[in-house]
């Protein structure tokens, strides 16, 4: 019953027997039994392998004394950090097919960026080469087309095979997670990874496209920046798992590293740019403005350097410096973002919280990844999408997108408020001007009436005292009479005598009466009671509006009849002035002084007006909102 010793293989009697049967180089207690794989989805095999650092890297494999290497074991089953080896790392493991049929397995190395990785079948006659691939080889060199290195392994019935793996990762941090799976599992894992990445990219594309259209309509830079940021984020997502290599430049492995590193730098450039606009950071309102600018430039420079010096790889000697700088720039950039957000939050800019949250999500993803690779956590998901970092990136992108929209909404509201305020202010100024003008007119009318009118009356009296010819006296009388008539009319039109103490409708009714009796036009005046709705000044303005309109009718309309109505509704007064005259062309008369005066007065009331002029005369409808003053 194989189940027994599967679990306790190192003390199993059968294992001992098997060990004697197996070739001398096989280390029986460490072998992987194919049956074990069916138990779990992924079989983590780190603790089943042996490792050795090659001292002489240039030695051909055929000359290699495998047993002579300094083999050691690792007691973790998932991640292990081997540091930065100076030369090659050798790895070996054996697999036992204890079933009666042929079987296939997939071995996943568990790190996507290794310079060169070669798999050998370790036979008695020495290592037999099976596959060589790595980041120095085109994608077609992969034995299985997956973004990470997958090696298919075949076994005959009851076969025991030992494999030897040479890993060249000079300059890179050697962290990986070797695992084994059955072919169905590989398929599943494959689908899962690509689907997850597809979904992530889809989300970012939607956010990006949305912002791009917003940019087209609103012409706000932040939306364009976001669209570009989205593109770079997609680049980062794919380069993180070298899928950019797989899909875009499978024959140019020299771009794998520059693409990956530079994408991250560019990502930070855009993240910082967006942050600056999002937080409305300026040199005046923020101490973080210049640090932000510095790191935008630093990231941009690093981006360029990656392409200038990093193709295909940084020289191994520079590797340490490269990684230190890279880490420092990344760390400082995030620090700048963090501090900028904190500063803005302390300034009371609430939206900064949103940006901080977004970046924290990304940071959490990053920290999880680091913690995993350091071996403090055992999450195998950091190898294949959906990895925490990728998820962090997508969630960040979504939060920022939401933030930008929300910010736009807030800005729009504020803008509306400001423009309303401005409008209000303009109106207030206009009203003030009108008010002063009216006061001035009243004073003018008063003076006209009191002083000039009084003098004229005195003149009249004086003339009557003159002992002159009757003819001369008559002439003087007529002159004085017409002059005082004119004076009176002018003063009267500006402000009728006893204006405040007289019922408004009575005043108007007298006025239209007089107009009817002196001209050829019959004025009909129909009015609801409007006293109490308006202040004295407003009433005076309505009076002026009506005077202006009726004067227009008298002067221009050639009408025979006119109807003036004052209709009082619940919350507005409607002035309707109709005549049966010849009408006028709105487009040419619109700017006439009279109408403009009326318009400015209507504006004073926040009112509106409509002019309907045509064959059957002119109808002018004016609506003035009311607030009762006695309420």
């Amino acid at each position: 019953m194989p189940f027994f010793w599967k679990r306790n293989s190192h003390i199993s009697l059968l294992a001992l027997i098997m060990a004697t049967l197996l070739p001398a180089f096989s280390y029986g207690q460490k072998t992987i039994y194919i049956d074990e794989l069916k138990e779990g989805t992924l079989f983590f095999m780190m603790d089943r392998c042996q490792f050795a650092f090659a001292t002489n890297t240039d030695q051909p494999v055929s000359d290699l004394d495998v047993e002579g290497l300094d083999w050691f074991e690792v007691d973790r089953d998932r991640y292990h950090n081997f540091g930065r080896p100076k030369g090659k790392l050798w790895m070996r493991f054996s697999v036992t097919n204890d079933s009666d049929h042929e079987t296939e397995l997939a071995f996943i190395f568990g790190n996507h960026t290794i310079n060169e990785i070669a798999l050998y079948h370790h036979t008695e006659s020495g290592p037999q080469h099976l596959h060589t691939t790595g980041s120095g080889y085109p994608f077609s060199s992969r034995p299985y087309p997956f973004f990470t290195y997958v090696f298919p392994l075949q076994f005959d019935s009851k076969e025991v095979k030992e494999y030897l793996l040479s890993v060249d990762a000079k300059g890179e941090l050697m962290v990986f997670m070797p695992l084994m799976l059955v072919p169905q599992q590989l398929k599943l894992q494959n689908d899962r990874s690509y689907t997850a990445l597809g979904i992530f990219i889809g989300i970012i594309v939607i956010c990006g496209a949305f912002n791009f259209f917003l940019f087209l309509f609103l012409k706000e830079r932040i939306h364009l920046l976001y669209a570009l940021y989205a593109i770079v984020a997609i680049w980062c997502l794919t380069s993180m798992v070298t899928m950019d290599f797989q899909f875009f430049f499978p024959d140019h492995p020299q771009f794998i590293y520059p693409s990956r590193f530079s994408a991250n730098f560019l990502y930070l450039v855009f993240l910082l740019l967006i942050m600056q606009r999002f937080l409305r950071q300026t040199a005046k309102n923020s101490k973080m403005y210049w640090p932000t600018i510095v790191f935008i430039i630093a990231n941009a420079v690093c981006f360029l350097l990656e392409w200038i010096f990093g193709v295909p790889r940084w020289p191994a000697a520079w590797s340490d410096i490269h990684y230190s700088v890279l880490r420092m720039v990344h760390f400082c950039s995030f620090l700048v973002i963090f501090l900028s957000c904190i500063e803005k939050i302390r300034q009371g800019y609430r939206l900064a919280w949103l940006f901080l949250c977004a970046v924290l999500v990304l940071l959490i993803g990053g920290v999880l990844t680091i913690v995993n690779t350091l071996g403090w956590l055992d999450w195998h998901t950091i190898l294949m999408p959906p990895t925490p970092l990728a998820m962090g990136m997508v969630i960040e992108a979504m939060i920022i997108c939401f933030g930008i929209l929300y910010r736009y909404h807030l800005l729009k509201r504020e803008k509306e408020r400001l423009s309303l305020e401005l409008q209000d202010h303009k109106l207030t100024v206009a009203q003030e001007i009108l008010r002063v003008e009216e006061e001035e007119k009243e004073r003018f009318a008063q003076n006209l009436h009191d002083d000039l009118g009084g003098n004229l009356a005195a003149l009249k009296v004086a003339i009557q005292r003159l002992k002159v010819e009757r003819k001369v006296a008559d002439h003087l009388n007529i002159l004085v009479d017409t002059t005082s008539d004119m004076t009176r009319r002018i003063a009267h039109d500006i402000m009728p005598p006893e204006f405040e103490k007289t019922e408004f409708n009575q005043l108007l009714s007298a006025y239209f009466n007089r107009l009817s009796s002196t001209g050829n036009i019959r004025f009909h005046f129909i009015a609801d009671e409007i006293d109490g709705y308006f202040t004295k000044q407003q009433t005076l303005m309505i009076y002026r509006i009506l005077l202006e309109l009726s004067t227009n009718i008298v002067k221009h309309s050639k009408a025979t009849e006119a109807t003036i109505q004052l209709n009082s509704y619940d919350d507005y007064i409607e002035i309707m002035v109709e005549d049966n005259g010849i009408g006028f062309d709105l487009s040419t008369c619109k700017k006439g002084m009279g109408l403009r005066n009326i318009e400015s007065r209507i504006l004073f009331f926040h009112g509106s007006h409509a002019i309907d002029s045509g064959e059957s005369g002119t109808t002018i409808i004016i609506t003035l909102p009311t607030q009762r003053h006695d309420l």
């Binding site: 009084g454 009267h492 006893e498 007298a510 409509a610």
Partner: protein, 209 residues
């Protein structure tokens, strides 16, 4: 000794009033003339001088002519008052009449008119300028139109509503804009205190408009 009519002239315009008093004194020597420059002075002089007649300016500063008139009418109903004004506004004349004035004179009247007014008033007659009385504004034949203050245009529109024309059709027919017709319609409903097209139809039928 002939009885001298004592006249109090009240006006704030000094040139005018001195001219007027001189003129009156020159024309006829049976006037005793006093002069006041504002309402307060008038009240004071009335109790001192007990004039027969006061020529009272409407637009004086402080206590205005109308207030003085009302007060005099209450306290010294025997004193006749003629209002002086530069305006021949109907509403002013009407106001003066109602407040108990005996006459109303325009400031630019001739001396003859002034003398006649004083004489008339002294005889107990009233002396007001004729007010132009126009026939009623809404002298339409239709009593319903008059009752509800409907204008000619509104009646016209009601007729068309009766013919079941839409607002648009009415507008086209009368060469008016749609908004104007809608406003007319709204005003009709408002004046008739109706709130639906059905009630308007009913009204039209009921009143045989």
């Amino acid at each position: 000794m002939t009885y001298k009519t004592s006249i109090l002239l009240a006006d704030d315009h000094l040139l005018f009033i001195s001219g007027l008093s001189t003129l009156l004194a020159e024309e006829q020597n049976n006037y005793d003339i006093f002069v006041a420059h504002d309402g307060n002075m008038v009240l004071q002089m009335v109790s001192d001088q007990q004039p027969d007649i006061i020529l009272l300016d409407i637009g004086m500063p402080g206590i205005g002519g109308m207030e003085v008139l009302k007060y005099m009418n209450r306290v010294y109903p025997a004193i006749k008052i003629i209002m002086l004004s530069s305006y021949n506004d109907a509403h002013l004349i009407e106001k003066a009449r109602r407040a108990g004035a005996s006459g109303y004179l325009l400031k630019n009247c001739s001396i003859e008119e002034l003398q006649r007014a004083i004489a008339d008033v002294m005889e107990g007659k009233l002396s007001f300028p004729p007010i132009v009385h126009l026939p009623e504004h809404n002298a339409y034949t239709n009593p319903i139109a008059q009752q509800f203050n409907l204008t000619k245009r509104e009646i016209e529109i009601i007729q068309l509503i009766k013919e079941e024309l839409t607002n648009k059709q009415i507008a086209d027919k009368l060469f008016l804009s749609l908004f104007t017709v809608e406003t007319h319609r709204k005003n009709i409903m408002h004046k008739l205190k109706l709130n639906s097209a059905v009630s308007l139809m009913k009204f039209i039928l009921d009143f045989k408009l």
